[in-house]
Amino acid sequence: MNIIAGDRPIRDVNREIRKALADGIDITVSEPRSRHNLGIGLPSGTRVRFEGSVGYYCGGLNNGAVIDITRNAGWGVGEAMATGEITVGGYAGMAAGSSMRGGLIHVRGDAGPRCGVAMKGGDIIIEGRIGYLSGFMAHAGRIIALGGADDACADSLWGGEVWVAGPVKSLGVDSKLVEPQADEVEQLEKLLAIRGLGDRSREWRKIVSAQRLWHFESRDASAWLMI
């Protein structure tokens, strides 16, 4: 089924998307015209294809849908996704996959700054380069960038991993490079191979939290009782 977004009220467009998906119909949304908030909170077992570019928060709060965006996505694509799969055919703007808890986002081009900011789980694959402060204060999950990373990569990570093939301009605060284990690389390459991105010749940089910001310098509870 095809739904035309065009310049119609987004509320109507989303209502039609939800209705069609509830009826078990896969849909294509044409003329998305970079409109914001397309396809929010969609359920599992459904498929939506946006034919063109979308604005902010497309696939936000995704709850299991498989979403295909043929061109570019604005800020916060797939933000707070619990589960599901989002593919961006072109580039993704700022904060792709921010605070997502699970699922997969796959961007064929580059991603803007703060990719995977505050993420709590899931995987983000960027075929190109990730912007500055990517992974900022992420808790868990993996960001996988095949084309390098800009400044302050993996800044202030609580947990999770940032994998970069290609140059990393600079590491962020409290992050460190660690030697990837063979089985980890194997697992990663398997995930990439499923997406048609297998390439055994990559030189991986794995970045994790240095854990210096996990605690104030004093772990002694009595020090906090002084006031």
Partner: protein, 473 residues
């Protein structure tokens, strides 16, 4: 020397001895004459014993101090600086002990944008305090107490706790920058969504939960390593300014199918502008949290030295809504240091549609109650003075994650105390409203107040007592 007053002059008597000049027989014991009294007491304005010990503390710790509770800045005005001027000759009072006064309060009544506005029986609800900052038992008791009197609670930053959802007939879900456990199902089960851009206790800085309170369940809900000193973000991950937030608000409406109102909570800093911008961005309810607002933990300097007083923020916020033509469309909630129904009534008169209480509700639960005195002493404090929420060693089981301490909070009796406190507060509000001749608490107005101090008048635009004029610059 220019100031040498010794001129050649001869007394018509013998020159006095130095001993006689020194009045040694009347000098204070232990202090030679000629030494001012202030030498004993050390009356430096800058270097009081407190500031000296502060420097000692910082020089030992090498970091700022952290504590819970609220501001200790004694320059902060209180709502005691305002009094009501009830009906006398120009107005008719209602019978305070007999006639009724409507307390129903609707938040987010925006047809077309909000299908289910929040209807409360009273103009007071329980502020957003997280599971993490508070024990699960405290969260549940607040929920039950609020439900009994027909009002609501708010989840706070740690995500939605099932025990709290069950206990609360109405529950606002808080969406903070850290987005802990942000879950679509939780959003859809909430009666409202509160976007946080700041809090009164520490505007401009994110939440803080020391490792002692990041227990296994708390860590799981927040997907954090157990025991870390959790210092949350203050900027939202996926929007920056008000224009982006406008898109975010639409996303939340889409996610909840335009059913529930969207709140925005801000610390009171520049409410005249911040409130106007928030209203323009499209939220339904604006919560302005004054500098007196409490918290589970904060760098102490932020508690004491950031934000503006609640009383001043309410007037500015209401003026902003009036100027934008948004009064009546966008609801205004005031919070921060509200201690009683009297305080709440003054906030309503200053322009709030409802008030939110946090610390007062915790005190109703049993915070600072005179029991387990030894445990207060172990913290270096005593009942009535405790502000050690940050340690997670709350003697009465409220701001703790220690199971043994949490057990001390009896949910049924704590719930009942909260319900009774909210009832008493409501009675206080209606008593004042009726004395002012109002058949609904929402008719309380600035004209019903007078200021006892120039400062309070200047902060609020309330007329000075007696002279009946506002303080004019």
């Amino acid at each position: 020397m220019a100031d040498d007053m010794s001129k050649p002059y001869k007394y018509p008597f013998n020159a006095p001895t130095e001993e006689a000049v020194a009045m040694s027989d009347v000098a204070v014991d232990g202090r030679p004459i000629g030494v001012p009294a202030s030498y004993d007491r050390g009356r430096s304005v800058s270097w009081t014993p407190e500031t000296i010990s502060d420097v000692h503390a910082l020089s030992r710790l090498g970091r700022y101090q952290i504590r819970g509770f609220n501001t200790f800045n004694d320059r902060m005005p209180t709502l005691d600086d305002l009094v009501f001027v009830p009906a006398t000759m120009t107005r008719l009072p209602l019978e305070g002990y007999r006639e009724s006064c409507d307390t129903r309060t609707v938040l987010g009544n925006r047809p077309g944008l909000v299908e289910c506005p929040i209807e409360l029986d009273i103009p007071i609800y329980i502020a957003s305090m997280s599971f993490g900052a508070l024990s699960a038992s405290a969260k549940a008791a607040l929920g039950y107490g609020a439900s009994k009197v027909g009002t609501m609670t708010c989840t706070g930053e740690g995500g939605m706790l099932e025990a709290e959802r069950e206990a609360s007939t109405r529950l606002v879900y808080q969406m903070t920058p850290s987005r802990y456990m942000l879950d679509l199902d939780h959003l859809r089960r909430a009666d409202g969504i509160e976007i946080v851009v700041g809090q009164g206790a520490k505007p401009g800085t994110g939440g803080l939960l020391l490792g002692m309170k990041v227990s296994d369940p708390v860590a799981q809900m927040r997907s954090l390593p157990i025991g870390v000193d959790q210092r949350s973000t203050v900027r939202h991950p996926d929007f920056l300014g008000a224009d982006d937030m406008q898109v975010k608000i639409e996303e939340l409406r889409e996610a909840t199918e335009y059913k529930v109102p969207i709140f925005l909570k801000m610390g009171a800093t520049r409410p005249r502008f911040d409130v106007a911008i928030a209203a323009k961005a499209g939220v339904d309810v604006i919560v302005v949290d004054g500098a007196e607002g409490g918290t589970g933990a904060s760098p102490e300097l932020l508690l004491n030295h950031t934000g503006i007083p609640t009383m001043s923020a309410i007037r500015a916020a209401r003026e902003a809504l009036d100027d934008c033509g948004m009064s009546g469309e966008v609801s205004l909630v005031a919070a921060g240091g509200i201690r009683s129904g009297t305080d709440a009534a003054k906030c309503l008169a200053l322009g709030a549609d409802a008030v939110m209480i946090g610390t007062a509700a915790l005190i109703a639960l049993g915070c600072n109650a005179p029991c387990y005195v030894d445990d207060y002493e172990a913290l270096g404090t005593s009942p009535g003075r405790c502000h050690h929420c940050h340690t997670g060693l709350c003697p009465v089981g409220i701001t703790t994650q220690e199971p043994a301490l949490e057990k001390r909070l009896d949910i049924p009796s704590a719930s009942e105390r909260v319900a009774r406190f909210l009832t008493a507060m409501t009675m206080e509000i209606t008593l004042l409203a009726k004395a002012c001749g109002k058949s609904t608490v929402h008719n309380l107005e600035v004209e019903d107040l007078r200021a006892l101090s120039l400062q309070a008048s200047a902060f609020t635009g309330v007329k000075l007592a007696g002279i009946d004029r506002t303080y004019e610059w």
